[in-house]
């Protein structure tokens, strides 16, 4: 479904992403892991059109989407959530998700119909699913960090994506919130059949929900394979654990 080949991006000569490759098949959950500053977020920004790559190729559903602006990428069925919370702070929780649904329905050029009556059931269903229905009238700036991270995902779901990118979905969440979030991700895969690409520092989460893993160090892909491949790969241990020789568990 997604095919990334030798993507490149530098900032003022610093190669943040250098030869990253990745492939995700339909229905899979794939994790990208790597130490801080490895270039995971930058990679996601390149795939989703937030940044333009200096080189390389991104194929999505067989079509070349390299360098396409993000609104076009989104319209092809790809949504994402952000690592640093990136919601609409002055809108309510409901409006945050609703605007995303409206955009998906290509209604943003409608100047006269009242928003209050549009996309209501779709929006409420998403809020119900992610567990934000109780606080739908709160302004999103008033939410806790964990709630805002969930709202992040809810906004992405507003676009009813076939392919979803989650950038550290559980970062900063409490243990209970983390458990709920993982259940949600599993549900998205199983019930809605969404293909998921995500990155995460918590290895336990990574191994428990992903079908395959790509490891990234200093901007480059060093291995892409199943959990077992990755768990015992010497290079990963050198790079990631600073050379301990036990398998990652």
């Amino acid at each position: 479904m997604l095919e990334v080949t030798s993507l490149q991006k530098s900032f003022d000569g610093f190669k943040a992403v250098n030869n990253a490759s990745l492939s995700v098949k339909e229905g899979e959950v794939v994790a990208v892991i790597g130490p801080n500053g490895a270039g995971k977020t930058t990679l996601f920004n390149l795939i989703t059109g937030v940044l333009k790559p200096d080189g390389g190729k991104v194929l999505f559903k067989g079509e070349d989407i390299t360098g396409l602006p993000s609104y076009k990428v989104c319209r092809r069925g790809m949504s994402r959530s952000f690592q640093v919370v990136n919601v609409f702070p002055r809108l309510t929780v409901f409006e945050n998700v609703q605007v995303s649904v409206l955009a998906k329905q290509k209604r943003t050029w409608n100047l006269f119909a009242p928003s209050a009556k549009l996309a209501v059931s779709e929006t409420e269903k998403i809020l119900e699913n992610v567990g934000l229905a109780d606080i739908k009238d709160a302004t999103s700036a008033a939410l806790s960090h964990g709630e805002r991270k969930v709202l992040e995902i809810a906004i992405a779901l507003g676009g009813s994506p076939e392919f979803l990118i989650l950038d550290e979905p559980t970062a900063g969440m409490s243990p209970e919130e983390t458990t709920r979030c993982i259940d949600l991700i599993k549900q998205l895969k199983e019930k809605l059949g969404i293909t998921i690409l995500f990155c995460e520092h918590d290895m336990e989460i990574v191994f428990s929900i992903s079908d395959r893993i790509m490891v990234m160090v200093r901007g480059s892909t060093i291995i892409e394979g199943t959990c077992d491949d990755v768990r015992c790969c010497q290079e990963v241990q050198d790079a990631y654990l600073g050379g301990s020789d036990a398998c990652l568990t």
Binding site: C74, F88, R90, E95, L111
Partner: protein
């Protein structure tokens, strides 16, 4: 955005409109004139706020569209033999087109740079109007624009202004509450995220700028009706600054904020006009007080006050 101040708002709006309709019955001519000026200035500020408060675009030189709307109307009435009513369509349409053109040029730049480029382009328009004696009358402006009989009396002008302002405000309100308005507010809050949910940010903003220019032009053409004159200072950048202050003072996240701000500023300008030399100073002080004490403007403050009361 549930607003307790505006909950059950329809009766209030109707009451306000009735009072405004009866105004000429119990007020002197001068006050009726002043009320008309407040209404049309408020419309101008509201059209600015459509892109400033709701769209997050730094429209620093909105008065240009107000001025061009006025000139378009006046010149159309004076220079052509067509129905003078046509002038009230031509003025706003020209202002809308100008809003689009300036928007196309500036939209590539972010926030502050957008505003700076807009000030320079706006000043360019001002300079052309100011210098082009043979067409615009230069710095003399145009006086005694002949109007259709029905709106040439002071009361006629007032009622025309009231009706057009009310209709325009209603349309702007509907637009803010439409999916277009939702997307616009999303862009204000977070352009990157808006783009990521499939909104073509620049195009959306461009349409908003065109609409804002159009309604700024409507306000300008109303000025022709009320005052019978147009002059280049209508589009001088200081007036744009006043419009921004009106939005901030009244509350740029409330729909009626700019109207309230316009009321306050126009009244102040009228009653301290003996001190015109100090007008800039007074504006500066107001601006400072607003920034320090009323960051959400008068309506934003009242809103919070009402919410607190409701809770206790």
């Amino acid at each position: 955005m549930k607003n307790p101040l505006l909950r059950g708002k329809l009766p209030w709006v109707i009451a306000a409109l009735i009072v405004l309709f009866l105004l000429p019955v119990f007020l002197d001519r001068f006050y009726v004139y002043l009320a008309a000026i407040i209404l049309l200035t408020g419309l101008s500020a509201t059209s600015l706020n459509f892109v400033l408060g709701y769209g997050g675009v730094f429209q620093f030189h909105h008065a240009v569209f107000y001025g061009i709307g006025a000139y378009g109307t006046a010149l159309m009435i004076i220079k052509s033999n067509l129905s003078p009513w046509l002038g009230f369509i031509v003025g706003p349409v020209v202002a809308g087109i100008l809003g689009f053109v300036i928007g196309v040029i500036c939209i590539r730049l972010s926030k502050l740079y957008f505003g700076m480029l807009q000030i320079s382009l706006g000043s360019l328009v001002w300079a052309i109007v100011y210098r082009w004696y043979s067409f615009t009358g230069g710095d003399d402006g145009i006086h005694g624009v002949p109007l259709p009989d029905i709106i040439s009396s002071p009361n006629g002008a007032y009622y025309f202004t009231l009706i057009v302002t009310a209709v325009s405000m209603f349309i702007l309100y509907r637009m803010i509450r439409s999916p277009f308005g939702s997307a616009l507010q999303g862009i204000r809050d977070n352009p990157v995220r808006s783009e990521m949910i499939g909104v073509n940010v620049k195009l959306q903003q461009l349409l908003a700028l065109t609409i804002a220019g159009f309604f700024g032009g409507v306000a300008g053409s109303l000025f022709v009706v009320v005052d019978n004159t147009v002059f280049p200072d209508m589009m001088f950048w200081t007036l744009s600054l006043e419009l921004i202050i009106m939005c901030l003072l009244g509350g740029w996240f409330s729909f009626l904020g700019p109207m309230v701000g316009a009321g306050i500023i126009v009244l102040l300008r009228t009653y301290v006009s003996g001190l015109t030399v100090y007008w800039a100073l007074i504006l500066g002080i107001i601006m400072m007080l607003v920034i320090f004490f009323l960051p959400n403007g008068v309506l934003g403050y009242l809103d919070r006050f009402v919410k607190k009361k409701a809770r206790s």
